[in-house]
Amino acid sequence: MHIDEHLKKADAFEASLARLDPLRDGELYAVFLMRAGTNRINAALHVLGTTTDGPATEQKLGDLNHTYKPPMNSPAPESLKASFTALAFIENLRPDIVRGPKRLDAPAAQRALDAYTLIKRDTNSVLGRKSP
């Protein structure tokens, strides 16, 4: 997807997150933070030329669905390494919280939000957008 479309989706998920309670709606909170973060990282990867905003080719991956899928054939760019770690933290909430029986507690919700804030800061830096 094109960069603008990724950012539009990230902004839309962020707006929807604002209507949820992080603890009561923990499953959706984790998934929507992941979607917003994934779209921001995809946009930044396209800007850096690491991935293509068009169909994937043998030489270049297209959009990532997750930090691990499709597997990247090279390390994450230095400017996005921390964002990949942060997104992986959010993704790893899914087995217990989204698909499993546990509830998102306040410390984990805060860590997830902090992770997303880091992704937003670092991807905005790559995208040349001003962080709030």
């Binding site: 209507r19 709606d25 959706l28």
Partner: protein, 119 residues
């Protein structure tokens, strides 16, 4: 997770989905509905003996069982689950705009899954 645990989780997730509204939250509603569908779908797989309580399938495309091989009672719900997965691909993971028919479509798919899992 047991079917009862899945159903409780699905209802909790739907309470969150119901805080959102078309058209502004259409991406979140499509995505959140598939998360609820995951729990309705797995409740059905457990209660109809397709999968034990300790095994789960994330999406219908990963089930590895053809729809006609599923118990007839859960086939309509799995058709709905499959359609929710397709909507995620078409709307959440692809360039999209909110379609006027989407709200009714998502609501109906969830109703099919919810009714089947309540039986």
């Amino acid at each position: 997770m047991t079917p009862a645990e899945h159903l409780a989780k699905a209802e909790s997730i739907m309470a969150g989905v119901n805080k959102l509204a078309f058209p502004q939250d259409y991406l979140a509603i499509v995505d959140g509905s598939l998360v609820a569908g995951y729990h309705y779908g797995n409740a059905l797989l457990h209660s109809h003996g397709v999968l034990p309580d300790a095994e789960h399938v994330n999406t219908p495309s990963k089930l590895g069982i053809a729809a006609p091989a599923l118990p007839p009672a859960i086939q309509p719900a799995f058709a709905a689950f499959t359609e929710l997965e397709r909507l995620r691909s078409d709307f959440v993971r692809s360039p999209s705009t909110c379609d006027a028919r989407l709200e009714g479509q998502v609501r109906e798919l969830l109703n099919v899954m919810r009714r089947a899992s309540a039986r």
